[in-house]
């Protein structure tokens, strides 16, 4: 395929992915908006007012960047995992596999589609948070960079999950047993300074800690970890997950066997 054909193919796949989650917006965009609003009301307003300050900010301000990041992570992941698995389940992945699209276009098509949903939900949750607190951006570049890299990373992770999934349970197990605990223990709701040394050290192996803190740095200008190290880590994992996903696609794991 020449460059124009590749551009058309990539645009087609991304457009189809976006159309998919927009068509079922009640399932894809509304639930995270409702869940996060509940978090804002309960953790931010009701309980948060009794917690006092965290990291030098009132609790509501502190928790908002973490909750935005949580929405980005779960939605990017869920979009690609469920979309790719549905393609396998309905066999319409074959429409893609018979086409001359290179594997990297297939990967980027799904991943960009998932990242767009994650970012869109992130923007929606950010707008909702304005009803509860002031949201000022301390470092716009870091904020945008971290949100894009995180959305891409978890879209890639969702893609890998979709490739290995053989039944619908398989795309629920990883989010339930791995992603949710890592997110909740990734400093969304608290500063790592509150933890004893041992659990603080354990937390440092949780990659979500770096994303949440880098994003919080972008919004509030505070972080439990070095922000540039965090961005480097996210970028590093994006590269690793991309290479691994392409390797899986080239080998045909889960789709051409």
């Amino acid at each position: 395929m020449n460059r124009t054909e590749i551009a058309i193919a990539l645009f087609t796949l991304v457009h189809k992915e976006i159309r998919r989650f927009m068509r079922i917006w009640v399932q894809t965009l509304v639930p995270p908006a409702i869940t996060m609003t509940l978090y804002f009301v309960i953790f931010g307003n009701l309980i948060g007012s009794r917690i006092g300050e965290m990291g030098g900010f009132d609790y509501m301000q502190y928790v908002v960047p973490g909750l935005i990041m949580m929405s980005v992570i779960t939605n990017s992941y869920a979009n690609v995992a469920s979309s790719f698995y549905s393609h396998k389940f309905q066999h319409c992945v074959e429409e893609i596999l018979v086409s001359p699209m290179p594997n990297w276009v297939i990967l980027f098509g799904f991943v960009i589609g998932g990242a767009v949903r994650g970012i869109l939900v992130g923007i929606l949750v950010s707008l909702l948070s304005l009803f509860f607190t002031k949201l000022q951006v301390d470092n716009l570049f870091v904020t945008i960079l971290v949100i894009i890299l995180t959305a891409l990373l978890f879209a890639l992770a969702g893609f890998i999950n979709g490739i290995f999934a053989n039944k619908f349970d398989d795309i629920a197990i990883i989010p339930t047993f791995i992603l949710t605990p890592l997110t909740y223990l990734g400093g969304v709701f608290y500063s790592l300074d509150l933890l004893p040394d041992f659990w603080r050290a354990v937390s440092m192996v949780n990659p979500i800690v770096y994303m949440v803190n880098a994003f919080r740095y972008g919004i509030l200008g505070v972080s439990d970890v070095d922000v540039y190290f965090s961005i480097g880590m996210i970028g590093f994992f994006v590269v690793i997950f991309t290479v691994f996903s392409l390797w899986l696609l080239n080998r045909g794991v889960g789709i051409r066997q």
Partner: protein
């Protein structure tokens, strides 16, 4: 004549050790109408899956219009249109959107995609259904949608895996006419089907695959000549309690009024009727039990040695 498809020593072993293809070799010439036949589980769909790169091969090579799928897969894929056995489109998308999206996957600009979509939807009588969700289509319409989708990038080789399964006779004949016309215009067609009448009337070359091996491959006419026994069904005027013993013919009684007789082509039917008249058996009508390809197929896959060398 240039080759549309060349398959050499193709093998497929599934995880768990099942060997679906045990080294098949065959060629399809450009412009041919080729039938790949075989009983269920013989390896037809596996072969088609590998040729259309839906499945990895274990060994062997596949070339499509000279493009080796191990070397220039993208070029090879552009030449193929696949109509699979199972419905494999998104059930929630409309007919039109499925086709425009498929064209996009091939890098076809929207303007050309729209022209091709209308052209083939009209040719297969689906234009009025373009805005319907695909799940709302009847079985026959779904099959035609998959044909339109396979043609959207105007491939030189069209592969159809049982395209007329579950399609009524009238529609099946319409599809035959469409495929014959497409073949006359230069598209090479490979067909698998369980309707052997379909293969006999459409295809010029056949390969029969059984238990992962090609057991016969050649032109339709030369293969049919190998068939030296045909089974005739005789309807009788008066009931028979047992099958008569007729010298040179194998008779079996189906019911009181029906006899099956295996007739050797060399022997002919004149002597049969003389013997029947001699025994006072009156025949009211006569027909072939199966068409010739069906007879050949059944005998081949049942391993009956009734062929000329």
């Amino acid at each position: 004549m240039a080759l549309a498809l060349s398959v050499k020593n193709l093998k497929k072993r599934y995880k768990g050790g099942v060997e679906a293809l045990k080294g098949i070799t065959f060629e399809v010439e450009q412009g041919d109408f080729f039938a790949l036949l075989g009983p269920n589980g013989a390896g037809k769909s596996t072969a088609i899956g590998i040729i259309s790169s839906l499945m990895n091969k274990s060994e062997g090579s596949v070339e499509i219009f000279g493009h080796d799928i191990d070397v220039s897969l993208s070029k090879a894929k552009k030449e193929i249109g696949l109509v699979p056995q199972e419905f494999n489109f998104n059930q929630f998308e409309t007919v039109y959107s499925i086709l425009i999206t498929q064209a996009g996957y091939y890098g076809i600009p929207a303007s050309r995609a729209k022209v091709n979509t209308e052209k083939y939807l009209r040719a297969l009588g689906l234009w009025e259904k373009r805005d319907s969700p695909s799940r709302m289509l009847s079985g026959g319409m779904k099959r035609r949608l998959m044909i339109v989708r396979a043609l959207i990038h105007e491939p030189k080789l069209l592969i159809l895996d049982e395209p007329t399964a579950g399609v009524d006779i009238e529609l099946r004949r319409t599809m035959w006419t469409f495929l014959e016309d497409l073949n006359k215009k230069g598209t090479t067609i490979i067909l698998t089907t369980h309707y052997l009448e379909e293969a006999e009337s459409l295809c010029r070359t056949i390969a029969i695959i059984d238990e992962g091996k090609i057991i016969r491959n050649g032109s339709m006419s030369s293969l049919l000549k190998q068939l030296n026994v045909e089974t005739l069904v005789l309807d009788l005027k008066e009931p028979l309690s047992e099958a008569p013993k007729l010298d040179g013919y194998v008779c079996s009684r189906v019911n009181d009024y029906t006899l099956n007789v295996e007739v050797d082509i060399e022997e002919g039917v004149n002597k049969l009727f003389a013997l029947l008249t001699e025994r006072g058996i009156k025949v009211t009508s006569l027909r072939n039990k199966a068409n010739r390809l069906e007879e050949l197929f059944i005998r081949l896959v049942n391993k009956q040695d009734t062929f000329s060398p």
